[in-house]
């Protein structure tokens, strides 16, 4: 009977089930299982046992990191699934590793915050894991449909997480603003994508790459422009940044850390994929766009950051301006041999920025436990009663400012190197704008240092800051990473060394 059924099926369908490389999909599968597990545990455990959800989430993330490692170490090279629509290569593995580890650090930042703040816990972990799954998928997507699905998958949970302080008006504002602008950006991008499909009759990026080239008709240029602008919202590039400060300020601090690092990195990953695989021959359209975006983003972000009195708002503008620095190399990525250098610069910067910025938020969360305040002046005299935290924060601020030998400088250095390598006037001009911005940025990073070291304690309260162990681990890891990446940058530059672009993107 079964034999008859099988033969009937075989005869009826010329459709062949694709061979699935389960090793390549292992990180995604582990994350998906983790989501289900946390959801079920949350349903069937009593209130007293909810503490276990955080550890389960972090074990899921560490578990997902294992296949990322084994894939990276395997000799099989680039794995291409589903007709090249889903690719696991060095680039995607590097970014998957970044997302998973950043997620782990955010878990460390969140656990005590959630418990003490009377938040929903289980749902938070489920949403965070879902968003991370979206990011991990984004790193491998090479097709308009999978890119869009990943993007929504990573964004929609984040909209809800931003509004997690349910009874706080600002948090609600944060969520709604993020949602509305995010949806608007998605719509723009979808419009661009539909044009691309119309041009090339394919959703596969490599196919699109062959059509979007040569003589740039207006429709092609518009399609490219819309897609780029859609992602510019995601990475909060000026002038599409207006949601970021309000969302960052209103959202719970660990969520802000998550948005400013993981979510932003995911936006960059998508942008890189689309530009390098989809539009490699349309550089005359996107190069000027990135030039203007980068110059505007770092300058406006910096100037606005100078004026902030709230630490999280300051960090929001700082992260906008850092985004400008990360964008910089893309402005010359189409010039001759600079594509590899630009890709390496962006990836390196993202890794370094993730370590440092998560560390900054860890300090912010730790200090806020004592001061219960978000103003920059509440950091006054931190050095006198919490010298360890003050020194660590100084390291992070200096790293963000790009002072050697800390991680941030190697990111900035890579960006400058890529720009200068192009040897064009535009490249040099942007490098000089970047150099000037580096100096302006020290205005607010230095101001933080000044508060901590040179100003008196505002309310005279010098009781030491109590740091829970999870936060301590997060602080230790991020500090270690920031120092190590600065002193031995070879470690991380190796990951970013994707000189062979065709190989890097499995094209």
């Amino acid at each position: 009977m079964f034999a008859a059924l099988f033969s009937a099926l075989a005869a009826a369908a010329d459709w062949v089930s694709p061979t699935i490389d389960y090793h390549a999909l292992a990180p995604e599968i582990i994350l998906a299982c983790g989501i289900v597990l946390v959801l079920l545990l949350d349903l069937f455990t009593s209130e007293n046992n909810k503490w276990m959800l955080g550890p389960v989430t972090s074990f899921t993330l560490l578990g997902a990191f294992i296949p990322v490692l084994t894939l990276a170490l395997s000799d099989a090279g680039t794995r291409s699934l589903f007709d090249g629509r889903y690719v696991v290569d060095n680039f995607s593995l590097t970014m998957k590793g970044l997302f998973v580890l950043a997620g782990y650090l955010v878990v460390l930042l969140s656990s005590d915050y959630l418990r003490e703040g009377d938040f929903y816990e289980g749902e938070y972990w489920v949403l965070m894991l879902s968003s991370l799954l979206g990011m991990v998928m984004m790193a491998s997507s090479r097709d308009l449909v999978s890119i869009f699905v990943s993007l929504e998958f990573l964004s929609i949970p984040a909209y809800m997480m931003a509004a997690w302080r349910k009874r706080d008006l600002k948090s609600n504002e944060a969520g709604v603003k993020y949602f509305l602008l995010g949806v608007f950006a998605s719509a723009l991008m979808l419009y661009g994508m539909s044009l691309l499909y119309g041009i090339s009759n394919s959703t596969l990026l490599t196919d699109i790459g062959t059509y979007v080239s040569g003589d740039m008709s207006a429709i092609r240029a518009v399609a490219v422009l819309f897609v780029v602008v859609g992602f510019a919202f995601k990475i909060s590039a000026v002038p599409f940044h207006t949601w970021a400060p309000d969302t960052y300020e209103g959202a719970p601090t660990p969520v802000t850390a998550f948005l400013s690092v993981a979510s932003k990195a995911a936006g960059f990953v998508a942008l890189l994929t689309v530009v390098y695989v989809g539009f490699p021959n349309a550089s005359e359209v996107w190069q000027p766009v990135f030039w203007i975006l980068a110059a505007l983003t770092m300058t406006v972000g910096n100037v606005m950051a100078l004026r902030q009195t709230n630490i999280v708002r300051m960090l929001a503008f700082s992260s906008i301006s850092q985004g400008g620095f990360i964008l910089m190399p893309l402005a010359i990525a189409g010039e001759g041999d600079s594509a590899g250098a630009a890709l390496r610069a962006v990836v390196t910067y993202l890794l370094v920025y993730a370590a440092t910025n998560l560390g900054v938020f860890a300090v912010v969360i730790a200090v806020a436990r004592k001061t219960r305040s978000g103003s920059i002046s509440s950091y006054g005299g931190l050095f006198s009663y919490a010298p360890g935290l003050a020194v660590i924060m100084t390291v992070f601020m200096a790293s963000l400012a790009g002072i050697p030998p800390l991680g941030g400088w190697i990111g900035k250095f890579g960006s400058f190197q890529a720009l200068v390598s192009a040897g064009t006037t535009w490249g040099y001009a942007l490098a000089v704008i970047g150099a000037v911005n580096t100096v302006i940025a020290f205005g607010y990073y230095g101001n933080m240092m000044r508060e901590m070291w040179m100003r008196p304690v505002p309310d005279g309260d010098t009781t030491p800051v109590v740091i829970p162990s999870a936060l301590m681990v997060a602080l230790g890891l991020t500090t270690f990473a920031t120092l190590l990446l600065g002193i031995l940058p070879g470690l991380v530059l190796h990951f970013g060394d994707l000189a062979n672009l065709a190989g890097a993107f499995g094209g």
């Binding site: 200068v420 040099y428 020290f442 240092m449 000044r450 040179m454 940058p489």
Partner: protein
Amino acid sequence: MEVLSDNNWALSVGTFLPLLGVLVMLFIPKAQETATKAVALITAVATLGVGIFTLTQFNFDQAGKMQFVAQTNWISVLKSTYFVGIDGISLPLYLLSMVITVLVMIYSWNHVPEPGNTKAFFALMLILQTGMAGTFIARDLILFFVFFELVLLPMYFMIGVWGGEHRQYASLKFFLYTMFGSALMLVAFLALFFKTGAESFSIPFLIEQGAGISRSAQIWIFGGMFVGFAVKVPMFPFHTWLPDAHTQAPTQGSVILAAVLLKLGTYGFVRIAIPILPVAAKEWAPWIGLLAVIGIIYGALGCLAQTDMKRLIAFSSVAHMGFVMLGISTLTSFGMNAAVFGMVAHGLITGMLFFIAGSVKERYHTLEISRLSGMLKQMPRMGWIMGFCVMASLGLPGLAGFWGEFPAILSAYQPAAGLSEVTFRIFMVIAAIGTVLAAGYLLWLFQRTAFGEPNAEFSGDSHDDHGSGIHDVNVFEWMAWAPLLAAILVLGVYPNLLFKIIDPAVQGVLSAFGG
């Protein structure tokens, strides 16, 4: 390059040993101040010991060659290596940084400025030491840049936390100026890297390849470096951070700043900008010379207008570094020798003057020149030490200052081939006028503060008794100052001690000009 010595660990140990000390200090409780200070001082002395070992093993017959060379992979992706070495130009400055750190620590033993926190203060000095020593031995541009920047943050905190009334303003100004310079310098380094084929950041390699860069590109790249180094020197018109930083910094900060940090800029010109970009150096030389003499005159006039002793010394630094830059701008071996000697001499003398200013401030609680007088009566030893340093600073023959200043002026008479003799002779005359002004403001300073009767408010007679705490040079001050005073005298009487090791190295630098 042949390895002249197998002791190539010495430079790395001498540079990074202070960081080990900082690590140890982290584990000492904050309350145990004596233990903290002892660990810091022992580290600094041990570092100096390694420095002296380097000195004894240094092959003086080959002072023009890089010695103790060590090269190993560092950031291979960026084509940057960990590459260190030392020659006749680096050696005196490298040792100077170590000596100054030890002396400053001895001085700080019972002079930790407000608001205390001994541990952090000493730790910062050790980090500074690593940055300073590293800059003088780096043979790779990226390594050089890292060390060059490493001194920024410790000095920022030193001024900002332990400084005077306007310390926050001064520290930020210091930082922003320097950072602006180094950002452009980094872009210039990168341009240099790509223009020479993107192969290496190694300085010897770039010296070989640099001459091949087109003239206009050289001029632009030199411009970027010029801003970076000129801010650090500081040259007119980038000098405005200096008087504020010096005036507000604690004594220790001022001494380190004057004695070593300013030399990072001039050293950069001698070691990097000029040998790598000889064509641009020739184009820029008259402009550097012009800014140098403007600095000399401007600094001197600035001094004459000051009412604060420390600010006056700070402005005199602008003038003295002008002489150093004038020597460099001639692009002659005579001028370069003078410049390197001038760097060391200025380090010793101005460092000493800042020490004195600090001690005077501690005793009188003011540095206002009009309120100070009769120092020779009240504390004769301090007065005479000050007299000695003032004489050295104004370039009295027989003391170290003379050998930096006089040859620098003289070298402008005959600049390198291709530079306008007339221009440089005009510079020479202006610089010579500068020395007269220097004598003027320094002697005037000495006369007003040291001669005459002690001011009534400090004499101990008045009912409002400020004078009781005024005592002569104490034992820590003697220990910190005696080596400097001896060095000023010895180098003044026998300058060849230094010239004979500088000269071969200078010849090497100038070989890019075919001479």
